[in-house]
């Protein structure tokens, strides 16, 4: 499997892409000038990035790139400038956080704006999905962190009851939240947040409260979680990468991993690659550095450009076009990528609109995009299937028959083994008694 590092910058430098093993630069996707946390690989099938625009522009923009083409393929123009962008693991939904504090939730396959809600009082700075995709955590410039349940967001009854939309509202940060990471506990996970108030805080999603407060000597720009779960890495404005212990006993218990550049340029972003245990940092001066966190020294460096890198992601590339199984509806448009995202919520088109069906967890061989879809999309797919005729089902039948045969053989094998074993045991026992 190929692992790539993608990085973008706040000043137009495109999206750089490197092979993590060899360090060879791949395609550069242009043009792209994205805000921090504005770059995401949607289901690792294609790239999406929100774009920085000058204040006078009336709308924001989000661009899509497919893996094999350096040019922008799909452009969407949401109502306002989008700061933070994130997609769930499957790549079925994209959420964007606007400068006004509104959060937008789109369905990727149709581009439909499923929900738009007022999330924060100031611009949204980062968005993170929990490991099981059930919760969305958003951080804002106003220093608040809010946790949203994707299911409860659509619960109109609760809203009418006057209940708050969010699950938790963490207000203890006194300045803008810069980054949030979430550990592996699913909806009961712990999150670590970094802020310009020079602290990192550890929160429990299940209890909904602050667990730890760790003070750093400088403002923290970015975070990465160690897969061990006991420490996290924090990239500071003072060019140092700190190692913070989540279970810190004192408020000041941090070690320094290393300094990225001598000219004291801030560390702007961090990413952790569990495969090979590497930490990748991006710097204000446009360089990327791959670290071995155990040895605490740099292993590899890349050069993105002169402008500050503000997004890094580690991606395992899968190319949508080659997957013959995907029967997604966007194929009809003749493009490898889904349609652009809607600007406004569609209202009242049909009764099913806005209703989201949540499937049980998908089986491993079921193609992506079949879980978590809105009802009318599923209808569409059902229609498509019907039109396609029985070819697909026949193939499926063949496969199942084959599998059945295999299972039978397996069964025979096990039975034989059992009998053999029984024989041996019996003999031994007989020998013992004799």
């Amino acid at each position: 499997m190929e692992i790539y590092v993608i990085a973008s910058s706040s000043i137009d430098g495109g999206i750089g892409c490197w092979d993590l093993k060899s360090g060879i630069e791949q395609l550069r996707f242009k043009p792209c000038a994205s805000p921090a946390h504005g770059l995401t690989a949607v289901g690792e099938k294609f790239l999406a990035a929100s774009q920085l625009r000058n204040a006078s522009a009336s709308s924001g923009s989000i661009f899509y790139w497919s893996w094999n083409k350096p040019q922008v393929e799909v452009k969407s123009f949401p109502v306002e400038s989008i700061k933070a962008l994130a997609a769930n693991n499957e790549g079925t939904y994209i959420v964007g956080g606007g400068t006004s504090g509104d959060i937008y939730l789109w369905e990727v396959a149709t581009g439909k704006l499923l929900k738009k809600w007022h999330g924060h009082y100031r611009s949204v700075t980062c968005l993170v999905f929990s490991g099981d995709d059930s919760l969305l955590v958003s951080g804002s410039q106003d220093g608040s962190i809010r946790v949203w349940s994707l299911i409860r967001l659509f619960d109109d009854f609760q809203r009418q009851q006057g209940n708050t939309l969010y699950e938790h509202n963490f207000n203890e940060h006194t300045m803008a939240v810069t980054d949030i990471v979430i550990d592996y506990g699913g909806c009961n996970a712990m999150i670590v947040s970094a802020s310009e108030d020079r602290t990192c805080k550890v929160w429990s999603l299940s209890k909904g409260k602050l667990l730890r407060n760790i003070v750093f000597p400088s403002a923290i720009n970015s975070l990465a979680l160690d897969p061990g779960g006991s420490v996290f890495y924090a990239g500071g404005r003072d060019s140092k990468i700190y190692i913070g212990a989540i279970n810190a006993t004192s408020e000041y218990g941090t070690q320094v991993l290393g300094s990225v550049s001598e000219q004291s340029k801030a560390v702007t972003c961090l990413a952790y690659c569990a495969d090979g245990n590497l930490l990748i940092s991006g710097s204000e001066d446009g360089g990327l550095c791959v670290w071995d966190p155990k040895l605490r020294r740099p292993v590899l460096t890349f050069r993105h450009g002169k402008s500050p890198v503000n997004n890094i992601q580690v991606v395992r590339k899968t190319i949508v076009a080659n997957s013959n199984k995907s029967h997604s509806s966007w194929k009809r448009h003749g493009s490898a990528l889904p349609p652009p995202l809607d600007k406004y919520e569609r209202s009242g088109e049909d009764a099913m609109d806005g209703i989201v069906i949540v499937d049980p967890p998908p089986l491993s061989d079921v193609p992506a995009y079949s879980s978590f879809l809105s009802a009318d999309l599923i209808d569409e797919q059902v229609k498509e299937l019907q039109q396609q005729g029985s070819a697909a089902t026949e193939i499926e039948m063949e496969r199942l028959k084959l599998e059945y045969k295999k299972s039978l053989q397996m069964n025979d094998q096990w039975q034989k083994n059992y009998e053999d074993l029984l024989q041996v045991v019996m003999e031994e026992q007989n020998g013992g008694t004799n």
Binding site: Y121, G143, N169, N171, T174, D197, K209, L210, A219, S264
Partner: protein, 873 residues
């Protein structure tokens, strides 16, 4: 007999010794007649006997010479006087020998506990005093649980005794226990409440003597106040000691405090019923006002407080169950929603509001009525949230609240009034949402009055601040008021506008209040709720400007606040600049930064926060530049000439701060965009500063800023280079003349010089023309001074000229020492040679030089010659 005990005691002592010996001798004597050995044995026995007598003086004894053991035995003596005396004796013993109590505490309690039920009143009183004065205070440190569990059975026994006085004493004593060990109540809450109910029900006992009833009622009120009914205490636990909590732990529900009180709600209902009836009995007395004395006032107050606590607790249980979806239990219905209780409360209790004497009396009595009314009002506020009360009744209460907040109730004394306001304030936010329009406006007005009238450091002010928060941003969420509803908005902005001036009034004497105000301002800023007036901005500015600054400008307390409060203020500043940035504000910040008393860490933090605001796009680039340059150019680094050890040390730290600041500014500047573009914008301003000939440190910082942005070859314009070439020679000379040469640590000296020299080296490296011009100017300076030396006979000016020449030569030598710079100045070797010639001629020709001067010139010439030669090589 008791009186004569002391003298008798002495005799007894002797008597005992003698008698006992005698007895033993006597015992031994009869059997053998001629065995003399046994007598010796008997003597051997005497010795321990004697030692007991002797040790008695070592034993702790009471005044009367009795040991603890003896005293304890006497406490169960059939004679009440002896019992009483024994208890007194114990108290006396503990006074003189506190250690005795520590070592035998459980034995003592085990023995003494029986005295709770003592028949004699005197004994009981002494017993109570003994525990209050000695035993409980001694137990304060260690675990009281075992002690209490020893006592409780006896207390319960006494509570159920037939004699009323014994029972009362039991309640009184129990109250004491609860005071020292509050968990006692929660352990047996149900049983205790049952007992209280019984004793209060039998109120025919105390028709005459209210003081007896008071004993029971005060205990009950205390117990009920221990019910966990305040949400704030769990909140504070939530935010409390973070570090002690485990990260991944399973919380057990059973451990929760409220689980212990799960079954008392039925009991509470009964108690409330009993208490309301008791209150009814008092009503004629209240209105009569003649028989209304302190005792009955206290009784009524305790009754009302108890009812209040019980209601509060049941409401809290109810809401808790609603929010956490606990399974419904037998107490599912809220107490005050219970038909019987509700009607009883509204008719019998609240209906009697306001309590007023029939004929007007002033003074103490009036104050009593006020206090009772305020407690009633609290109950009303709790109840009215859940059930609908008649309008005229509500109006009466609301009127009382309004008058209290307005301070119209003149008769009440100040502390009582403040306390009442403090108790009523927390209900205001909910009340405002609930009542109709007219009342709401009245209440808002009343609250505004309270807020502006109370003293700035008082707890009332603090409460007001938290009320403002609750009204504007409850739970961290803006409560969107109806857009049409201007009155509420007006009141809110009036409160907010007063906050900064409050900050200035508070000064640095009330850090807690200041912190609360700043936290509120910060939260308002975060949600973008600062719709400000000009005065607001002025006050914020003044808050940051340091006090001692420029005469009549009013100064704020910012610089002298504790660090964490300052941090809050800075966070607020960030959000404030986001919404309403103005250049006067920036200049206020600059003057704050220039305050030499400011801690370095804080200075860096201010710069960082402003840069963050700039990055987020809220400060214009020009403003931000001017902030940096003003900061760098105007910071006064302490004059160099102060050489005493202390000041030298101080100066070093300050220089360190300034260096750090320079680094910070340089790195921020280089982050702001393409270096050459930034330099193009800044060039003119920076050169203007250079022309003004700043002090050494400031000059160095400006040069460093230029270097950080410039590239090789230089992009500075011709005119800037000329300006620089005019400034640099003087600057270089300053370096040498200002930094005292440290002979012992030449490495340090060179490092210090290097800090100042490096920016020049960079400039020289980037522009050879600049190098040439600077050297040329230095040469001409040497020539001028040589001439001056020759012509002028004045010794003083001669010395300065000589010094100058010396400095210039040192500079050249310093530059020459650096291998890289040597290459740079190689191109201008001719200039150096000229200087050398000058020095040599001066040394050889001049007559005005002293011997010392000549010698110096000679050395310099020699060193310069070597340097110049090595340049060629």
């Amino acid at each position: 007999m008791v009186r004569s005990k002391a003298p008798a005691k002495k005799q007894q002592k002797k008597g005992i010794d003698f008698k006992k010996i005698k007895r033993k001798i006597g015992r031994k004597l009869p059997p053998p007649k001629n065995a003399t050995n046994t007598e010796i044995k008997s003597k051997a026995i005497v010795i321990p006997e004697q030692s007991v007598a002797a040790e008695k003086s070592d034993f702790a004894t009471s005044k009367k010479g009795l040991t603890l053991d003896e005293l304890l035995k006497q406490t169960s003596h059939p004679n009440s006087k002896i019992r009483n005396d024994a208890l007194h004796g114990i108290e006396d013993l503990f006074r003189n020998h506190p250690a005795e109590l520590q070592s035998h505490k459980y034995a003592i309690i085990q023995k003494l506990k029986e005295r709770i039920c003592d028949d004699d009143n005197q004994v009981r009183q002494t017993f109570y005093r003994l525990f209050k004065a000695k035993i409980f205070p001694a137990f304060k440190e260690d675990s009281q649980g075992p002690m209490v569990s020893l006592l409780m059975p006896c207390i319960f026994l006494a509570m159920a005794a037939s004699a009323i006085d014994v029972r009362l004493m039991a309640f009184k004593f129990f109250h004491l226990v609860v005071e020292y060990y509050p968990p006692t109540f929660s352990l047996d809450a149900e049983k205790i409440l049952e007992n209280y109910k019984d004793i209060i029900q039998k109120n025919h006992f105390y028709v005459e003597d209210k003081s007896k009833l008071k004993v029971a009622l005060s205990g009950l009120a205390h117990c009920l106040s221990l019910l966990p009914c305040d949400e704030s205490d769990t909140e504070s636990q939530k935010k409390g000691p973070l570090q002690n909590q485990t990260l991944h732990a399973y919380e057990q529900d059973a451990a929760k405090e409220c689980a212990r009180f799960a079954h008392i709600s039925g009991r509470l209902k009964e108690i409330v019923g009993v208490l309301v009836n008791c209150f009814q009995d008092f009503i004629p007395l209240i209105h009569a006002s003649r028989g209304f004395n302190e005792q009955s006032f206290e009784c009524i107050r305790h009754i009302l407080c108890s009812i209040g606590y019980a209601i509060k607790f049941s409401i809290r249980r109810h809401t808790q169950r609603q929010t956490s979806w606990l399974p419904a239990s037998e107490e599912a219905t809220l107490m005050i929603l219970d038909q019987d209780i509700a009607s009883m409360l509204s008719k019998k209790l609240l209906g009697s509001f306001p309590l007023n004497p029939d004929n007007n009396l002033y003074g103490k009595i009036d104050r009593w009525y006020f206090i009772l009314n305020s407690v009633l009002t609290k109950i009303f506020l709790e109840v009215s949230e859940w059930s609908h009360l008649p309008t005229d009744l509500s109006n009466r209460f609301l009127e009382f609240i309004e008058n209290t907040l307005l301070g119209k109730i003149a008769s009440s004394s100040k502390p009582v009034h403040a306390e009442t306001s403090l108790a009523l304030l927390p209900f205001v936010p909910k009340l405002i949402l609930r009542v109709d329009r007219d009342w709401r406006d009245n209440l808002l007005q009343a609250f505004t009055t309270t807020f502006s009238n109370c003293k700035s450091g008082s707890s009332l002010k603090l409460a007001c601040i938290s009320i403002i928060r609750d009204v504007i941003i409850p739970n961290g969420d803006i409560l969107y008021p109806n857009a049409s509803d201007l009155t509420v908005n007006n009141y809110q902005s009036a409160w907010v506008n007063k906050l900064p001036s409050l900050l200035i009034q508070l000064g640095d004497e009330h850090p807690l209040s200041t912190q609360a105000v700043l936290q509120l301002l910060l939260d308002l800023g975060r949600v973008g709720c600062l719709n400000t007036s000009p005065e607001f901005e002025d006050d914020v500015r003044n808050f940051f400007i340091p006090c001692q600054c420029e005469g009549d400008v009013p100064g704020g307390p910012f610089a002298s606040l504790p660090r964490e409060v300052q941090e809050l203020a800075l966070c607020f500043l960030y959000y404030f600049t986001i919404d309403n940035f103005s250049s006067p504000m920036l200049s206020a910040i600059v003057s704050c930064c220039l305050n030499p008393q400011l801690e370095p860490a804080l200075l860096y933090r201010i710069v960082e926060i402003l840069h963050t605001a700039y990055r987020a796009g809220y400060i214009q680039i020009t403003d931000h530049f001017s902030f940096f340059i003003t900061l760098i150019a105007r910071t006064k680094v302490v004059p160099e000439k102060l050489q005493s050890a202390m000041e030298c040390n101080e100066r070093e730290t300050y220089c360190g701060t300034y260096k750090e600041l320079t680094n910070l500014v340089c790195s921020y500047l280089s982050e702001m965009g393409d270096g050459s573009l930034v330099l193009q914008i800044l060039e003119k301003v920076l050169v203007e500063q250079i022309i003004l000939k700043p002090a050494l440190d400031n000059g160095c910082a400006i040069l460093r800023m230029i270097c950080a942005l410039d590239s090789k070859p230089t992009i500075l314009s011709e005119s800037s280079l000329t300006a620089l070439s005019e400034y640099l020679p003087g600057y270089l000379v300053d370096i040498v003349s200002c930094i005292p040469e440290d002979k012992e640590n030449s490495y340090l000296y060179i490092q210090t010089c290097l800090y100042y020299l490096v920016p020049c080296y960079f400039l020289f490296d980037r522009s050879s023309k600049l190098t040439e011009q600077v050297l040329k100017r230095m040469r001409s300076m040497v020539i001028e001074n040589t001439k001056a030396l020759e012509s002028v006979q004045d010794k003083e000016s001669g010395r300065t000229s000589l010094n100058l020449i010396q400095c210039i030569v040192s500079v050249i030598l310093l530059m020459h020492n650096d291998a890289k710079v040597r290459k740079i100045i190689l191109s201008s070797k001719s200039e150096i040679d000229l200087i050398l010639q000058n020095v040599i001629t001066l040394q050889s020709r001049s007559t005005s030089l002293t011997v010392e001067g000549k010698h110096m010139m000679k050395i310099l010439g020699e060193r310069l010659r070597i340097a110049s030669k090595s340049l060629l090589a």
